[in-house]
Symmetry: D2
Subunit: 374 residues, 4 copies
């Protein structure tokens, strides 16, 4: 990308025009989003057990919890967590961090927003804020904009802090070796940045924890997030000099390599979108590359997407089996908004403890030699 006809990247926040700090504080007076800690809730096991012989979503959820536990007991199986939707900002961060800490997940495939705009953002010391109920109506969005506050349904973000997050990604990219990188390499670089900067400025950081434990994080639409601004700003600043670029094909290649090297895999999917599709597709990609990879053996998905529009987010796991992607023996969809179902399923699996037999697979280390030769 050429520099073209502008002098420099704009660093000043553009939105905050009329906001006085006190009024902004009014909007932020309802407290911070706090992340649920399922490790402290052993009572979840009995609740889920009580749901197993009910009907509808309760029964589905209990079955999903059973499958998750079984997947973790299958120590050969590599577990891939896929994230779509605003999950970190919604208070699920510690759930995912605890999965990583306890070897319950071997790779993460996510929207960029969860990883960069939300987790890395909090790792820099910034917070998500509880929005007053009336803000959900959308009628105050013009006013929020005056105060440079961004809204995600019932949650607020300080746009100035988000711009700092954007800028920090650029700084990290500026410091990287020029060349084409996968999103996994970029997210690892962000984790390394936190490590070298004295660790994350919050209690739990997914990007940092994954860095420390060699759990790779892929963002197959990596430019569609805060990091996208960093990529563009980096490219513009570099002009015709060597620069880092995001090689999205490499993402697909690398994730497929993990499938090839650890053929037995299971999926824990929250929401659908690109992360779901991308991760399911590695079975076919392994096949294209000449490997007789088995379908994903376990698959759980929590979603509110409706099946009737034929979109991928809502497509059943059975449908995926027609494509040769997901086996149908241990699969379960749970129709629920994630903040409700995920703590119950993961909390159940955590307290059942089958993960205790698992060792860290440190999948990132499987990719490093290949990368060296790339």
């Amino acid at each position: 990308m050429a520099h073209e006809n502008f002098e420099s990247v704009n660093k000043t926040p553009m939105k905050a025009k009329s906001a006085g700090a006190s009024t902004k504080q009014d909007f932020l007076a309802h407290g911070q989003v706090k992340h649920i800690d399922v490790t402290k809730n052993p009572g979840i096991v009995a609740v889920v057990d009580g749901m197993r012989s009910m009907a509808f979503t309760a029964r589905d959820l209990a079955r999903a919890a059973d499958i998750t536990d079984k997947m973790l007991a299958d120590t050969e199986c590599g577990v891939i967590l896929t994230l779509a939707g605003s999950l970190i900002s919604a208070g699920l961060k510690k759930v995912f961090v605890d999965m990583v800490r306890n070897n319950m997940v071997d790779a993460i495939v996510s929207t960029g927003a969860n990883i960069v705009d939300q987790d890395f953002f909090e790792s820099l010391g910034f917070k998500h804020w509880v929005a007053e109920d009336k803000l959900k109506s959308g009628l105050f969005d013009g006013e929020l904009r005056e105060h440079a506050l961004d809204r995600i349904y019932d949650t607020l973000i300080d746009e100035e802090e988000l711009r700092i997050c954007d800028d920090t990604t650029q700084q990290v990219f500026d410091a990287m070796e020029p060349g084409a990188h996968s999103s996994r390499e970029f997210t690892r670089a962000l984790g390394e940045h936190l490590d070298k900067s004295g660790g994350p400025k919050c209690a739990d950081s997914l990007i940092y924890e994954c860095y420390k434990r060699d759990v790779p994080i892929f963002c197959p639409a990596f430019s569609d997030c805060s990091a996208g601004f960093g990529l563009v700003a980096h490219a513009v600043a570099r002009g015709d000099s060597p620069k880092v670029t995001w090689d999205g094909g490499k993402d697909f290649y690398e994730l497929t390599q993990l499938k090839i090297k650890n053929p037995s895999t299971g999926l824990f999917m929250i929401g659908g979108g690109v992360p779901k599709n991308f991760t399911q597709d590695i079975v076919v990609c392994a096949e294209v590359l000449g490997h007789d990879a088995p379908m994903h053996k376990y698959a759980v998905q929590v979603t509110v997407a409706d099946v009737r529009d034929g979109a991928l987010s809502s497509s059943t796991l059975k449908e995926a089996s027609s494509w040769g992607k997901v086996d149908t023996v241990y699969e379960q969809m749970v129709f629920s908004e994630a903040t409700l179902a995920v703590p119950l399923i993961v909390g159940y699996a955590y307290h059942k403890g089958s993960w205790k037999q698992r060792e860290a697979k440190r999948w990132a280390t499987l990719l490093e030699p290949a990368m060296a030769g790339a």
Copy 2:
């Protein structure tokens, strides 16, 4: 990406194991998906007019149609069409092709599946098939897999044909100049391939029509589709030799350049997902690059996604205004599955004819010089 420890890319279809041709034909006996032609339905105008003073979705749809017409009458405004969900395979291809043919759209941002797996696939002469109703249950997916038939809810695809589509993308990529390219460049190369091969082998091809008319197509998650297989296969085949790579950051840069060069923009969004978010974000990206870009002036979205999970697909257009992305004067969400609402809205706008004052903006030509210097 290194070649590693396998000899060559597997070209044989892997799935078809037991299928006899006759039985496969049984599954395909319910006919082909046919694309609706709204240009032949002037009666749509009266229908939509009759909905304007009703309530609920009918009123919303009529308002969306009015905004679409107004957006097209505003000849300064560049119109960006975003596509998520299986829309081409669902019979909406000709609607989009007619929008391109009649200067009703200046750029497209889409999931890769719509553009490559579905439109390019049909351009190669392949078809989508109507699935029998009972297949929706998912209980026949194992059998479909035996016949190498892939299912999208109520639609079938021949996996062997899809593998040919994958392979063709690789051939196109093999013939491209090595280096980092945006998805726009890749989709243009696919259109050029069709042109050089004697044109598309179907009546209407979106990728070809956009190529001929310089309408750029972006796929911000380009490796998450048939082209992803092509990218990986290309990279593996090239080994350490120079190769083409997809530079996802360049996508973001290029689309932002269009916003900078044609500041007045409007969005016609079908589904949400990465295309919606990515396109909304260019307002902020232009700002980051030092340009005082106005918010998208018009925005229509057709979706079944529910607002209550806070996910981006369902986030209201008002919410986007808190982020400084979408203006709130001319915005309308229509809660409907796309196959029902889109023909009515586009058909209305087509027969109202405000687009007749528009000239082709040929936005692809705005990017070529920049690319030359890239």
Copy 3:
């Protein structure tokens, strides 16, 4: 019901406390709800024809239209229309009136609100009003209450007019022969009242049209609407004197009698709820009464209800077949909000014209003798 400890029924509207007429007019300045007239839209046929070989909802809708047409061509078949949700206030009144006028429907089973609060209400000369978009947020509901305006999502009703509607039902009930009546008898009395008062004060009245054409209307939760207030007020005013009462069991008996006397039946269902369940149940009730009644032969339902909560509104028509209620050969659910799908389906059936071979079944006359002996 005894009169107890109060003197008389309160006739004064209770809500309007602070409202000045001018401000109330501001809320009502966005015009009246207007009812779509599908008889003037022959273009609908081509639109629906164009959807038949698409996918998802478009294909389902075309199939539903085909089944509806086929049901009307089957002149033996009695057609029952069930209505749940705010449909009349939403602008679908003329669609239903035209169905009655053209012998496309032989009985109606509805929520009370559609028939009394909305259709009878409009028949008295009152109107439904278009609410400004921002009112959907709910943030102005307190203010609306100050002005005695009731809101149905995006539609407004003048509470004082609704109280007049309540009172009118009481006056009609006061004039009826004391005794236990089915809701069908009550709705007929309302139609007769309109007839004797010089006809409805609006262009199209469902309750009046049904009265004139002997199409019975059942409201199986009849006290759950404006008429409920009339029933209670009537009962209280009468004290220990003879009075009219609503005998809900008689509703079930009468509707079952129609099934027994005209065994071939088909359902056109909009929304679910009590009307759907109640109407499906008459097959079983006929069986209980010793008649070997066939299942409903045709069934179309338009709904946005989700199947995954197991509720009746969303239960599939296939599920109903396990109960012996609905045959599965000619059944189709259409996942759409009614204002969008119903004009297309009914408009298609209207212009296809199979109903022209049908004669009015005048089912109300089948029930009159039984009633005499009741």
Copy 4:
């Protein structure tokens, strides 16, 4: 209703034609639905506490739990539980029974199916059965019908047992004093029948528990359930002799009387439908009867219904405030399927224990004198 031209009510089950007992048992081999017991799950409190500062549904659910607890701490407030959807068959029976046992609810307004077809059915010793997952597809419904098995999404019912339930309601009605009765009187008679027959034949019976504790149960669409068959069969068997009839207007009168006698009220609503609307309407009915009744002070609703179709089930509690029905200070909707959210909310309120200060209001006793004079 006259007897007409048939000899007697058909008592033989009509559906079971080809079923051998062994094959029927195959369908029933997946166990019985078991009811969750939240009283044994004190861990729910910590889970809900952990959700309070999250986002989306988790936060909404925690707020709903807080409001429920607050409503129970307000000892003046009468609590009305409304039930729509298949809740008892889904395993929520014990949740409601425990609410009744612990004075957490003062009246119930429900669809007839929950009370008669499901709770009374289980009280007679019958069971609901877990359906195998594949049955959800609907493709086995013909086969189920052959075995006289009825399906509710993922749950099975033995139709022969349901016919016995129908017949038992008739026997109870046969034994009642002829005349017009409210559904409350009918449900009380069903409870009395259980009491006189040696108590319910299952561990927990809602209808029995309410009978013993004078908690009135209203079914405002009472003929739309198993009891409807009993009503019709009773009427037919009685012919011209005096008989019992269901007076639906009396339901409305009685429930309004409770509002008048205990003006402070709160609602705990599961699903929407007639129970929701009917219960909200008593505020207006009290007003119509000359009483200045306050709006419902607390309101919680758990539903998956979508707001965008304007139907009552999904209408927001704010919207109800425009009608003067529900106050907006303590109201919360929770977007979740009931089996997931209800155990958490009620479990939270149970273990917080604010209900311990409440005394049984025994509202049924308030209605008995009025009834005597009716």
